[in-house]
């Protein structure tokens, strides 16, 4: 490989030893309020007098709106406003859109000239309550002129396919092929080229509370105050202000616990814009809270929906040299985040392996479906599944053991920091250690013996084993390195914390981005503060600052929150301690350099009885400022804005995408399944998951992430799919048809942790919010394929429904199956 000139890495940190709180399992500080029903979700915050909005959804996949008659709806008693898409386009600008060339696929809060998917909003009604609002929706008469729908993503790219957006001139929103390394040479040198075609269907996060917003516009000040359970990109709120034509400094957004996001509430602006538009129009507070059908059909956060044609270049001894990936991704009717999902894939495209070259062709197809957004993994989980499928297929074709082929290709611990061909760096890792522990707690050898026994009895047991990456802490370059013209320098993606020590020494931490998303920001900050100040984490008070006047904050996404908050806490704590040290030195009349921090206070080195606790220092700073020199201000409060610690520019020719997802976790999952070949039912008999997310802050809450993510991965693998039929009808518009695994379908997980600290983050922490779902689909597919290996069956399409499994088994000649 050629050596690329790269910007230097940040300095390698030394991490403190003998930590008191970081690494300790504690009860989450958020739990009591949620368990007592005092979480304060959107529906809890609706006050008497607030008006309710409801959205009329398109019943058509693709149709021109000929006319809309709202007279009867507007005349209904208790209805305050009926706004059509055309009227909304007069009141608001298009919604914030990070996609390529948004002017060619303009996205608005309500459809204007035509509807592009079933569920797209056509009009909004504001009424005294949601019942009345829905009564009014039933009175709106829309005259549609149906158009032929575009449903299949590959057919969408055919010449002559109906156009989702005429202005774009085709349904291809983006196409590019990247070569990293010498792909052709690696394929020419391969002993074996493994090929496959793989299909991953769309599913999505299913929050308990759907997306909602309460907006209150004050005409006397021009200020819009809103509560919403979305919007993690706090630093990008000015874009919403632009959509609403409100000055950014007149927009105050207050954080509301997500009630479940899993990515699906990432920067959801539509409900906020609808509520705000309506509030300004009628001069009263308005709530818009999606119902379940709204959320499933119109949430703008369906997950990836990909077709893959892949080639893997392998040598006879099992070394993987190159990979050639060609994917078509069905983005639905809009493309709000561009192909950032593939940036996620490119962050870890070669997995934990020393693959030298990558060809990556992506085509983003537009179809008549709800658009893609974010779902736990943001597209990297699909890449994990694809790669592990290919590695397993290579092992099968080479007659190698799945463990052996992985060990053969692992990046070794002494190779870190390791730059993969795309230019992203893996900071640290120890993949053999993770695999060793997974084989042990997963009882791999015992299950292999059981499998042999079961096969003799005509039962189809399978052991899955996958080893895959869990990238964390994204840099926004991945949203624009697709284009030759960079829109910006490297973005810094800040996160901020303010620490205030009151006169009694009590600590309050102020956070500036989203409230609870499942990532326990309050627990993380409480533990990190406790680590710095030797207090009990449950004694740390956590509050949120609304967006107005708030410090820079980006919010959750790409498993960044804990690392970024840790940096902010570290910086703010250092400032507090600097001031406290100086104050203590004044109070004790000793040189600051003679003081050391010990057990919650400063004491004179070697003279432990001469000390001031943080409380002693704080009361002096709060009440007795004149005891201190002129330049010491009253109080003890400091803030830190922490910026992304390691991200670099892509090269101009895009042969190297720079560092954009550097803190690389890793995991190995080992599920054991039994497939009933007569019915296509998959039962999970055992499941082991070992993760390495660097230094653990709270093993207990990370285990919760692993269990929850794995449960969602089980859904992706076996149950969940947004199904659109050939006419573009969404036939899974409620939980009657969209199947989600229950506790009964999720087995007990055996969880293990390996800790390989990051050299570049506070304490060596890496993000771990998405890992379970990034592994489980691949692992379960591997297990099912292992079970069906005696029949020669490989399943290449998720979810693995009874229909798909039976079709594959039937094709292998087992007509009715069973005994």
């Amino acid at each position: 490989m050629t050596t690329t000139a790269r910007p230097p890495a940040p300095p390698v940190r030394s991490h403190p030893e003998n930590r008191k709180w970081v690494g300790k399992s504690i009860r989450r500080v958020e739990d009591p309020k949620f368990l007592r029903g005092r979480g304060g979700y959107i529906a809890d915050l609706v006050r008497p007098g607030t008006l309710h909005a409801a959205v009329l959804r398109s019943p058509h996949a693709h149709a021109r709106i000929v006319s809309i008659d709202t007279d009867a709806a507007a005349a209904l008693d208790g209805v305050y406003a009926v706004v059509t898409g055309a009227q909304a386009a007069e009141l608001t600008e298009p919604l914030p859109d990070f996609g390529p060339d948004p002017a060619k696929h303009t996205w608005r809060c309500l459809a204007v000239d035509k509807v592009r998917y079933v569920g797209e909003g056509v009009a909004v009604v504001v009424a005294d309550d949601r019942y009345l609002a829905e009564d009014a929706l039933a009175l709106i008469d829309v005259d549609y002129d149906p158009l032929p729908p575009v449903v299949d993503p590959e057919r969408a790219l055919d010449a002559g396919a109906p156009l989702v957006h005429e202005a774009l001139g085709s349904n291809l929103a983006y196409e590019r092929t990247f070569d990293f390394g010498d792909v052709d040479a690696d394929f020419a040198a391969a002993d074996l080229v493994v090929r496959d075609r793989l299909r991953w269907h769309r599913s999505g996060g299913q929050p308990l509370e759907t997306v909602g917003a309460i907006a209150d516009f004050d005409p006397s000040t021009g200020q819009l105050t809103a509560h919403t359970n979305s919007l993690s990109f706090t630093s990008y709120l000015f874009m919403v202000a632009n959509t609403l034509r409100i000055p950014a400094n007149k927009l105050d957004i207050h954080q509301v616990p997500a009630g479940g996001s899993f990515g699906s509430k990432l920067f959801v602006t539509k409900p906020l814009v609808l509520a705000a538009m309506c509030s300004r129009l009628v001069g009263r507070p308005v709530v818009y809270l999606e119902d379940r059908v709204d959320n499933i059909s119109n949430c703008d956060h369906h997950g990836s929906d990909r077709v893959y044609d892949v080639r893997l270049a392998v040598t006879r001894d099992g070394r993987i040299r190159g990979i050639d990936i060609d994917t078509v991704d069905d983005y639905g009717a809009y493309i709000q985040f561009g192909v950032g999902h593939h940036g996620n894939a490119l962050a870890q495209v070669t997995g934990p392996y020393t693959i030298d070259s990558v060809r990556y062709r992506v085509r983003a197809a537009l179809t008549n479906k709800n658009q893609q957004g974010a779902y736990r993994g943001f597209g990297s989980e699909v890449n994990n599944w694809m790669l592990e499928q290919m590695v397993d297929k290579a092992a099968r074709e080479l007659g190698m053991d799945p463990v052996q082929i992985r060990r053969r290709n692992f990046i070794r611990p002494d190779q870190f920091p390791y730059f993969i061909p795309t230019g992203n760096v893996y900071d640290s890792g120890n993949y053999d250690a993770v695999l060793d522990q997974a084989l042990e707690i997963g009882e791999y050898d015992r299950w292999r013996a059981e499998q042999t026994q079961a096969r003799e009895e005509g039962r189809y047991l399978g052991v899955g084993l996958i080893a895959a990456q869990e990238r964390s802490v994204f840099s926004a370059t991945e949203f624009w390195f697709w284009f030759d013209e960079p829109g910006a320098p490297v973005t810094s993606m800040p996160e901020s914390v303010t620490l205030n020590v009151d006169a009694t020494g009590g600590i309050t931490a102020t956070l500036y981005s989203c409230a609870f998303w499942g990532n326990s920001p309050e627990t993380m900050v409480a533990q990190l503060v406790a680590e710095e100040f030797d207090c009990d984490p449950h004694d740390v008070s956590i509050i949120y600052h609304g967006s107005q006047g708030g410090l820079p904050a980006t919010g959750p996404g790409g498993s960044r929150t804990t690392v970024m908050l840790a940096g902010a806490v570290e910086g703010a704590s250092a400032k507090i301690k600097r001031k406290a040290r100086r104050a203590a030195s004044e109070l004790m009349e000793v040189d600051p350099d003679d003081l050391e921090w010990f057990d919650g206070g400063y004491q004179v080195r070697g003279v432990p009885e001469q000390r001031k606790t943080l409380g002693d220092i704080a009361i002096a700073l709060h009440l007795f400022k004149h005891s201190f020199p002129e330049d010491v201000e009253s109080g003890l409060e400091e803030s830190q804005v922490f910026d992304h610690p390691y991200t670099t520019m892509p090269s101009a020719d895009r042969k190297d995408l720079g560092v954009f997802y550097p803190f690389m976790g890793h995991a190995c999952h080992v599920p054991v399944v039994e497939v009933d070949i007569a019915t296509g039912e998959v039962r999970i008999l055992a499941y082991a998951a070992v993760h390495d997310c660097g230094t653990l802050v709270n093993p207990r809450s990370l285990a919760g992430h692993i269990v929850g993510g794995t449960a969602q991965g089980i859904g992706t693998a076996l149950y969940e799919e947004f199904v659109y039929d050939d006419t573009g009808q969404l036939i899974t518009s409620s939980f009657l048809d969209y199947s989600i695994p229950t506790a009964m379908e999720v087995p007990h997980l055996r969880i293990g942790h390996v800790e390989t600290p990051s050299p570049y983050t506070p304490h060596g922490i890496k993000g771990g919010g998405e890992g379970g779902r990034m592994m489980a689909p691949a692992a379960l597919n591997a297990a099912v394929n292992d079970a069906l290996a005696p029949l020669g069956v490989r399943v290449t399409e998720l979810p693995m429904t009874p229909d798909r499994l039976r079709a594959a088994i039937r094709a292998a000649g087992v007509v009715t199956g069973g005994r």
């Binding site: 009564d135 039933a138 019915t679 149950y719 048809d737 229950t742 009964m744 429904t801």
Partner: protein
């Protein structure tokens, strides 16, 4: 997901309920029991009754009793109550077993046995049980009371022999001495069945003397698999008899496919469920003797 306006009555006698149903017939009046099917349909606005007549306060509808060898379950008996009832366990263990497959416990706490039968969802469990047990349904209308056999009751998806002016007040199950089994395949726990099979079998001297086999999920109504019954009755209980019953019971079926299973998969699943149910019912019949 909110219903349009409707009127609500809560009568205390069957006669009053029947009178209200007649009085508000023009408003598409509907009877409400546990509300686990009607209320979601109203929330989706798929059902828009102008008047809802709640049976909750009607006296005498919430009892389970054994009368003359029959198990009688009133229209307001909750599924959870029936599931835990000693009378049901004694007289209709097939029903007790099936109730464990109906949705989740919170739904069974509200949903009623009779309501599920009256709703006649072709994927539901209890209609298949009613059909296998030759249950009789008591309907009360302006003209008085009549009995409808389960075989006559189910006419199509969500369509029954009940008149628009009638209310189901109870279901009567005759006990079936022998073995029973209820086997269901669903995508996830508590979901509607893709296919469910109810089997009753009586043995004498190791031979199958009498059986009743019904299934849901294989047509627009629950199906009585009489071909399967005929195929194994008279045979010695065992795998040959079960093979014959499985083949006969699933021959000629042409179920409509849906999202959860296509037609061919549905038959594959039916064969598997039927086999398991026949085996389990036979074992239990052998145990009883």
């Amino acid at each position: 997901m909110k219903p349009p306006p409707f009127r609500y009555s809560s009568p205390t006698t069957v006669a009053d309920a029947v009178a209200l149903l007649a009085e508000h017939a023009a408003d598409d009046a509907r009877v409400l029991a546990g509300g686990q099917s009607l209320v979601p349909l109203m929330n989706f606005r798929l059902a828009q009754p102008g008047h809802v007549i709640d049976l909750r306060r009607v006296a005498g509808l919430d009892t389970i009793r054994l009368a003359g060898g029959e198990l009688v379950i009133g229209a307001m008996v909750r599924q959870a109550t029936a599931e835990r009832s000693p009378e049901v366990a004694l007289a209709a263990p097939l029903l007790a077993e099936a109730l464990g497959h109906v949705a989740h416990p919170p739904i069974r706490n509200s949903g009623t046995v009779v309501g599920s039968i009256a709703h006649a969802d072709p994927a539901a469990e209890l209609p298949a049980v009613a059909l296998a047990m030759d249950a009789e349904l008591t309907a009360v209308g302006p003209g008085g009371e009549r009995r409808i056999t389960a075989a006559d009751f189910f006419q199509g998806p969500f369509t029954t022999a009940l008149g628009a002016d009638e209310i189901l007040t109870e279901v009567r199950f005759r006990s079936f001495p022998g073995g029973h089994a209820f086997v269901e395949f669903s995508r996830t726990h508590g979901n509607f069945a893709v296919v469910a099979v109810a089997v009753l079998v009586a043995l004498a001297d190791g031979r199958i003397t009498r059986s009743a086999i019904a299934a849901s999920g294989l047509g627009g109504t629950p199906l009585r698999l009489t071909a399967a019954e005929q195929a194994w009755e008279g045979s010695t209980a065992g795998s040959a008899a079960i093979d014959a019953a499985v083949d006969a019971g699933t021959a000629g079926l042409d179920p409509a496919g849906d999202l959860h299973a296509g037609s061919a998969t549905r038959i594959d699943i039916a064969r598997s469920c039927l086999r398991e149910a026949l085996e389990r019912a036979t074992e239990r019949a052998l145990d009883r003797r």
